[in-house]
């Protein structure tokens, strides 16, 4: 082992951490039964690496080094807690396995199971959405507090407090796989958390940029991880498909000047074909397994990428199905858009107007924006301008506000349809 440039070593530690964090926390959580404690122990191992590797050089097997360090600290912790006699017996058995090399194999066999427990724990429905997101990014993504703060445009102290609160909330949650009757709901909670992360990156709800691709990347990686851990869950593949397909459009979503480019105006040659291929493959898998709500949304996304133009009549039909399965106001609004795009703006507007009283859509800028676009296509320009002005006033995203304000200010023809690419 040779000492090397400290900044290179530091970046190596961080890279190894991103690769190994989830498994390390999962293994230690299994040993201690306590995810919050496991996270602290894992962090201690990270600190140890940051201290020793610049001095001693990067070890030949960095992953196992971190795991062994974390495991030793866990054993120390357990020994100190005399009430955990049962845990001691467990650890004694495992350290005996370690003595003849059996521990590492046992860890290997169980790692999928341990990671699943960790994911289900981090995304437990009893936790607030904010906490689930913070824990998932921290424990599975290996993100630092600073990275989480940047991702959500909050200060570091706020991010640290959020993580601490989330870990405290874990006190009552068992590190276990959900029993089969609960599996559906628990999987749904995990998927919702991952999609929340994706959406915050894809269509940032606030702040200066239209999108934060790094968050999308984290969510994509989590989605792929889930595909490996829960290969027979259709909606796991459905969500992965949806995210890969939406992410494929990111390169075309923002102009070189940094302005948002809506879907029908996007240069399709910029769409990422590798992600499209992965998304379509995941969609096939999801449909084979029985599909669901994310799968239908992915099928809708696929309609945009197949062929040279989006197949709006098919998209409208898929939204009808989606609305049956998930009659949420946002789905109903998207259905209105699709119906308008498929050639019937009057019916689209009627559907949008049905949503006028919806509490869930109050303050949601897309509702007046959609109405504005449909009104414009019907030639009712003054009303359209008023609707876009309303949308501009409601949005907290700067880039989006600029689009709406432009359409409020200067509408000459019907033109550009709304679906935010």
């Amino acid at each position: 082992m040779v000492a090397a440039d400290p900044s290179v070593v530091r970046r190596t530690v961080e890279a190894v951490w991103r690769i190994e964090a989830g498994r390390i926390v999962a293994v230690v959580a299994r040993l201690t039964g306590d995810v919050a404690l496991a996270e602290e122990i894992a962090q201690d191992a990270l600190v140890a690496a940051l201290e020793r590797w610049p001095r001693d050089g990067v070890p030949d097997d960095p992953g196992p080094w971190l795991l062994a360090t974390a495991r030793h600290k866990a054993v120390d912790q357990i020994r100190r807690r005399t009430a955990y006699a049962a845990k001691l017996a467990l650890v004694a058995r495992e350290t005996a396995e370690a003595a003849d090399g059996g521990f590492d194999e046992a860890v290997e066999e169980r790692i999928g199971d341990d990671l699943l427990r960790l994911i289900f724990t981090a995304c437990h429905p009893a936790l607030a959405a904010e906490s689930r997101v913070a824990l998932t990014l921290r424990l599975l993504g290996g993100l630092t507090t600073a990275e989480i703060a940047r991702a959500f445009l909050i200060s570091e102290p706020t991010a640290a407090a959020r993580i601490t609160r989330a870990k405290k909330a874990l006190a009552g949650v068992e590190f276990a796989l959900p029993p089969p009757p609960e599996l559906g709901d628990r999987v749904a909670s995990v998927l919702a958390t991952v999609y929340l992360i994706f959406n915050e990156g894809y269509a940032s709800s606030s702040g200066p940029s239209w999108a934060r691709p790094e968050l999308c990347d984290e969510a994509l990686r989590l989605g792929r991880l889930l595909q490996g851990l829960l290969p027979r869950e259709p909606e796991v593949h459905g969500l992965a498909a949806l995210m890969e397909l939406q992410a494929s459009r990111l390169p075309a979503r923002v102009s070189p000047a940094g302005e948002p480019v809506l879907l029908p105006d996007q240069d399709r040659r910029l769409w990422d074909r590798l992600l499209i291929r992965r998304g379509l493959a995941a969609l096939d898998r999801a449909e084979e397994l029985g599909g669901g709500v994310y799968t239908i949304q992915a099928a809708i996304a696929a309609c945009h990428v197949r062929g040279t133009e989006s197949d709006w009549p098919r998209i409208a039909a898929l939204y009808e199905v989606l609305h049956h399965l998930q009659p949420s106001p946002v789905v109903a609004l998207n259905r209105a858009v699709a119906v308008g795009m498929a050639g019937d703006p009057a019916r689209g507007l009627a559907l949008a107007d049905e949503l006028a009283g919806e509490k869930a859509l109050r303050g949601y800028p897309q509702l007046p924006a959609v109405r504005g676009d449909l009104l414009a296509r019907l030639g009712r320009l003054a009303e359209a301008r008023a609707a876009f002005a309303e949308a501009a006033a409601l949005t907290r995203n700067e880039a989006e506000r600029a689009i709406f304000a432009r359409r409020a200010g200067g509408l000459s023809t019907g033109g550009v349809p709304p679906p935010a690419g």
Binding site: R11, A15, V16, I19, D60, P62, D217, R224, L225, L274
Partner: protein, 119 residues
């Protein structure tokens, strides 16, 4: 960020040891499961391919094989947060070659794929 990794190595006299192939499959599985390895493939020897070259305003098409000391053996595409991460994965692949095929020599070349805004 996306990176492409090209593995080059001298054409071997003997087939790779089965333990190495097993270890490569396992490592590839881990990289795939982690969500960062998004595409990969083995490349046939140059005998199966060709070259199209422009030099001195002349365009030439040449069929393989090519008498080079080294062949490009495989490619892998990674979707990672930074260069250090793909270097770590490539290092792991190279280590299994070093450890399980004594005498083997080769090189992984890591290229960053251009993306919008340099991301």
């Amino acid at each position: 960020m996306r990176y492409i990794v090209l593995l080059t190595a001298a054409r071997p006299d003997s087939p790779p040891p089965p333990e190495l192939m097993e270890a490569i499959m396992k490592l590839g599985g881990e990289a795939g499961a982690s969500g960062t390895l998004v595409d990969q493939g083995g490349l046939e020897p140059s005998a199966a391919g060709a070259r199209v070259t422009v030099a001195g305003s002349e365009l030439t098409v040449t069929d393989g094989p090519f008498a080079e000391a080294k062949e490009v053996v495989s490619y892998a595409i990674y979707d990672v947060k930074d260069k250090a991460e793909v270097v770590e994965w490539a290092t792991r692949f190279m280590k299994v070659h070093r450890d399980l095929w004594p005498g083997w020599e080769g090189e992984s070349q890591i290229f960053k794929v251009m993306g919008p805004g340099g991301a």
